[in-house]
């Protein structure tokens, strides 16, 4: 997808920028990997498809990238992350060239496996909204990652160049946007049971934290020793502490890209907690992260009529 537009654009801008952070086919089928294109001959490697899962904004924060002027391929959610980074002064606008990629959603390999068993790449022919498997046609939307099922912004809100054309707002998928509703509908004890069970699985590999472009603290609170917030032992409650703490650090910043959830090697729906915080912020503080540079971050401002009923 977008290969032609991508190569044309890349060869045009490669002199202006020192590198292009994009996607290239990975070593395994149905995997794309982050790729840094710095030379003419690398341009052919750049591509984009339904498996370009990682959020590339993370790579803007590596030491060598901070000093350079780079172009970056961004999906809707990734572009929002870049805007948050700009707002927080982590990257400089003049060092960035945003290549927007309107996104049809990322396809979940596990959902494909569930449906088709052992996957073989030649069986599949991919198009923008549909794919065929051994000649039979399927809709992409039935196989989307959870994070993409609830996506409301397929188009980057801000870009310097756009690959292809802007997409219409995605339809609400059954159960997609209601991801949190399922949990909210449960009674308190059931919710605890659910989270306790999920937290039990967590091994604290920090794949969620490290895949998140907005988790850029030089020292994460879990690593601090003075004071030490929590121990290294991956027990249920300590894990919950980590995920609660992380969600609160993300408050008003999380752009719901789902990188954390897709990164989790144990398939824990860790996105739930930050997503719920974002929902509260949308509802009560009328703010959505990464939509523009001007609105102040919700926790750096206040209104006199903020919710107060919960305080005695």
């Amino acid at each position: 997808m977008y290969e032609r537009a991508l190569t044309e654009l890349a060869s045009k801008i490669l002199g202006e920028v020192e590198g292009i952070i994009g996607y290239a086919p990975g070593s395994l089928p149905f995997h794309m990997r982050p790729f840094l294109c710095q030379r003419e001959e690398d341009i052919a490697c750049l591509s984009f498809n339904h498996f370009a899962r990682p959020n590339l904004a993370r790579y803007l924060l590596t030491l060598e990238m901070r000093k350079k002027r780079v172009a970056i391929v961004v999906k809707g959610c990734d572009a929002r992350t870049v805007i948050v980074l700009l707002k927080e002064g982590q990257v400089k606008r003049e060092n960035l060239y945003l290549i927007g990629a309107p996104c049809h959603g990322m396809v979940s390999v596990s959902k494909l496996e569930e449906r088709f068993g052992v996957l073989s790449p030649p069986d599949f022919v991919w198009e923008a909204d549909t794919f065929t498997w051994r000649g039979e046609r399927f809709a992409i939307r039935d196989f989307l990652e959870d994070s993409c099922e609830r996506c409301a912004y397929p188009n980057p809100p801000w870009y310097d160049a756009l690959l292809g054309e802007e997409l219409p707002k995605p339809p609400v998928l059954p159960g997609g946007r209601d991801y949190l509703g399922r949990i909210k509908a449960l009674p308190l004890e059931k919710r605890w049971e659910f989270f306790a069970q999920e937290m039990e699985k967590c091994i604290r590999c920090y794949a969620c934290r490290n895949s998140c472009p907005l988790c850029y603290c030089t020292e994460c609170f879990v690593d601090q020793t003075r004071p030490s917030w929590l121990s290294q032992a991956a027990t249920r409650n300590e894990n919950l502490f980590f995920h609660l703490g992380r969600s609160l650090h993300m408050a008003g910043r999380c752009t719901e890209c789902g990188a954390c959830e897709r990164a989790c090697p144990l398939g824990i729906p860790i996105g739930l907690l930050p997503l719920y915080v974002e929902e509260l912020i949308r509802e009560h503080f009328a703010f959505e992260a990464g939509m523009n540079l001007d609105t102040p971050a919700p926790l750096l401002t206040y209104r006199e009529n903020d919710p107060n009923e919960f305080i005695r």
């Binding site: 919710r191 989270f195 027990t235 919950l240 609160l248 919710p307 305080i311």
Partner: protein, 146 residues
């Protein structure tokens, strides 16, 4: 006489120096009675409370946490409690979402002249926590019995 078997909740109270701590002081000098279950931690402003402090208090064995500051508009630092209120709202809702009882974490605005209110708040908090029993959720598992 204290009944040995009766469980008494441990409650950590973060009180802002300018209002609630002074309110607690007033309750003391006015000899107003309130349950002895709270352990007070004085902080400069409710806005200085990192949500991690609260989570940490639970982890270290608090059965309940009370955070108290100046009434909106009365902050010694002008707007610290307004900022705090947003953080507290998110934390409280998030904990409830994660299945932690709402009585565990409570907030109040108590001014320096409200000794009576302070004692009432403590009574309500202790009563609420007693109703739901000792904390298990969020407590570090290996602290005391491993």
């Amino acid at each position: 006489m204290v009944e040995l078997n009766a469980w008494e909740p441990k409650i950590v109270a973060f009180l802002c120096h300018w209002c609630s701590y002074a309110g607690a002081d007033l309750a003391g000098v006015s000899r107003i009675q309130y349950p002895p279950n709270i352990r007070i931690i004085r902080v400069p402003c409710s806005g200085a409370i990192n949500p991690l402090y609260i989570l940490k208090a639970f982890r270290e064995g608090a059965d309940g946490v009370l955070v108290s500051g100046c009434h909106p508009g009365d902050c010694h630092y002008l707007s610290g409690n307004y900022f705090a209120r947003r953080k507290f709202f998110l934390l409280k809702e998030l904990l409830i979402f994660a299945g932690i009882e709402e009585e565990r974490l409570q907030f109040s605005w108590v001014s320096a002249s409200e000794g009576q209110k302070f004692s009432q708040v403590i009574e309500q908090v202790v009563e609420g926590v007693k109703k739901i029993g000792p904390s298990k959720k969020g407590l570090k598992e290996f602290a005391f019995h491993v």
